[in-house]
């Protein structure tokens, strides 16, 4: 073993405290250090994944106290997969925005990169931690860095979007505290494995109510339907790469939290139906709203919410195939949506309001970016040679195995809607004439590298889905095996 899971949190925090000092000596260090840290986290998670595949789940004890007393971190195939995905995306987002902020002053750029690093750290912390209150702390870390990043540009509307996010986030955090206290008052513990172990002792009514409070709280970050009012505004107003970071990292962490609750902590099966219902409503509402949007980023935001609904549906199916499909979908969505956000924000660069009509005729001026956007659009619709096809196929097969015919029909119909609004944009890129005189902004080298590497991943996974299916399979098996999780954490010999 090269490192241990605690370094995912300790090293970025150490770096965050060092950066202000280092920035006084060498100004560029404020952008370089976060990148190095994110790269380190990515390599650490890859090497730990290798270790986990051979030796099984790592349970890291903190402060030398065994799990019911102390906090523990769990690096299993499932959490490890998400960690690898998140840290990779974090690094890509950093790479994309490395030069992007050159025209900004020293102080805001320091804050931007620091907040970005801690956003990734908080999300990784949510995934790794094995303690619900610790999860609350990490959710707050993610939220506060999210507020800061959203209002990064001092344009008019970004502060409004951030305030909206903060309003919902603050109410959600109180609900989360209430849910944690209900659980604590009944079971006297905060450790997830211990709670899962003792869950049958809990009064059924309190169990349901605490789950409702949990879902209300986590649903804000997970962009579940009635609670996602903040998301379109935030995606529109935040800097382009931050939209990708939200879609690819933060929302994934929140989905993980709700999945961990339903699959591991609670022991009644009604929650799965709840997932399907919530997911369906979110999916339908978001995709139909996306059809009506005339701003590019808003459209991408609603599409992102819709995809999250699809992930919820897949988790709600509740079988191993369902989980496999959901994880595949999460992976694809993280990669593809980041690609779309990256290339999309160059297509409408420096345009007020970022209307879809601004992409008219960009195919001639920005050939590479346009091609990448097109790949992303085709992939997310689920056209055959691209990565998105396999995940949609997986979810449809999982639904078919459980004879959920209505579900399949709905997913197919909504997918057509999705195709309509994405192809509309692609159509404008290639077959419309550009009207404005302004020269489009050429992407910088680092942004191009980031986008192309994402595009290559989309293509490679599209042609060879087997590359990733083994990892996904192990991750899905790990999530389904609740007894093993409890055993790993509670019977720790240290």
């Amino acid at each position: 073993m090269v490192g241990s899971p605690v370094l995912f949190v300790a090293i970025p925090l150490l770096a965050a405290f060092i950066i202000p000092l280092a920035g006084m000596m060498w100004k560029n260090s404020v952008r370089v250090i976060p990148g190095l840290v994110l790269a380190f986290m990515f390599f650490l998670s890859i090497s730990l994944m290798g270790y986990v595949n051979e030796h099984g789940t790592i349970v890291e004890v903190l402060a030398g106290w065994k799990p019911p007393i102390g906090i523990n971190l769990v690096f299993s195939p499932f959490t490890g997969f998400l960690t690898t995905l998140m840290t990779f995306l974090g690094f890509i987002v950093w790479l994309y925005s490395y030069k992007f902020k050159r025209n900004v002053d020293f102080e805001p750029s320091m804050k931007y990169f620091m907040l970005l690093m801690l956003l990734v750290t908080g999300s990784v912390g949510i995934v790794l931690t094995g303690d619900i209150f610790n999860m609350f702390v990490f959710i707050e870390i993610v939220s506060i860095s999210g507020y800061g990043l959203t209002s990064f540009y001092t344009r008019r509307d970004s502060a409004e979007a951030a305030f909206k996010f903060l309003f919902m986030g603050a109410i959600a955090s109180t609900f989360l505290l209430i849910a944690i206290m209900i659980i604590y008052s009944q079971l006297g513990t905060l450790n997830i494995a211990d709670i899962a172990d003792k869950m049958p002792m809990m009064n059924h009514k309190l169990k349901v109510l605490s789950l409702v409070f949990f879902i209300l709280a986590i649903g804000v970050e997970a962009e579940i339907f009635p609670l996602n009012g903040w998301a379109p505004d935030v995606y529109t107003e935040a800097p382009g790469p931050i939209g990708a970071a939200f879609a690819g990292i933060v929302v994934k962490a929140a989905i993980y939290a709700s999945v961990r609750l339903v699959y591991t902590m609670y022991d009644f099966s009604g929650a799965f139906d709840l997932f399907i219902i919530i997911g369906l409503i979110t999916f339908i509402m978001a995709e139909t709203t996306a059809l009506r949007q005339d701003q590019l980023k808003r459209m991408l935001a609603y599409s992102s919410i819709g995809q999250m609904g699809l992930v919820m549906i897949a988790f709600g199916i509740g079988t191993k195939e369902g989980v496999y499909a959901a994880l595949f979908l999460m992976f694809n969505h993280a990669i593809i949506k980041s690609l779309l956000f990256f290339s999309g924000s160059y297509l409408v660069f420096n345009k007020k309001n970022k209307y879809i009509k601004h992409v008219n005729g960009m195919g001639k001026y920005l050939p590479i970016t346009s091609v990448l956007f097109t790949i992303g659009a085709f992939a997310i619709i689920g056209l055959p040679p691209f990565a998105g096809f396999w995940s949609k196929l997986a979810i449809l097969t999982a639904a078919a195995d459980n004879k959920m015919v209505v579900l399949i029909a709905v997913i197919l119909i909504i997918s057509i809607l999705e195709a309509v609004y994405y192809l509309r944009v692609v159509n404008r890129i290639y077959f419309y004439d550009k009207k404005e005189k302004t020269e489009p902004k050429k992407p910088s080298i680092n942004a191009l590298v980031a986008m192309i590497s994402l595009g290559i991943i989309v293509l490679v996974i599209g042609f060879y889905p087997d590359l990733i299916s083994g990892i996904l399979d192990r991750a899905a098996a790990d999530l389904m095996d609740k007894g093993n999780y409890i055993k790993d954490v509670l019977t720790l010999n240290k």
Binding site: D157, E160, F163, L166, A170, I171, I180, S185
Partner: protein
Amino acid sequence: MEKYLNILNIAIYGSAVLLMLIGLYGALTKKSLIKIVLGLSILDSGVHLLMIAIGYLKDGTAPIFSPGNEDKMNIMVDPIPQALVLTAIVIGFGVTAVALSLVIRLYRHHNTLRIDEIKKLKW
């Protein structure tokens, strides 16, 4: 004595819940941004009271082994909710500070604090 404890049961939980509801009411219906943030901070206070109340033990002592107090472990109140509230208070302050700085920036741009005049903030 049982009866008094009952009164306290209703009074403490009732007032904690009432505080939360008052805060939420303010946050949801008021038009002034500062009032909204104020409502959120009152909501926080209510939750903190709720959490401490759960840890309380009748005739308990504070969870401190001060000299002469070492053998009173059985009647100590639960220290864990207190530690959690300690964390939650500090986090709440951080959120309030960020919220108020956003309010100041919104005022700088729009010259008003009323959400019905800041177009997008309607919900």
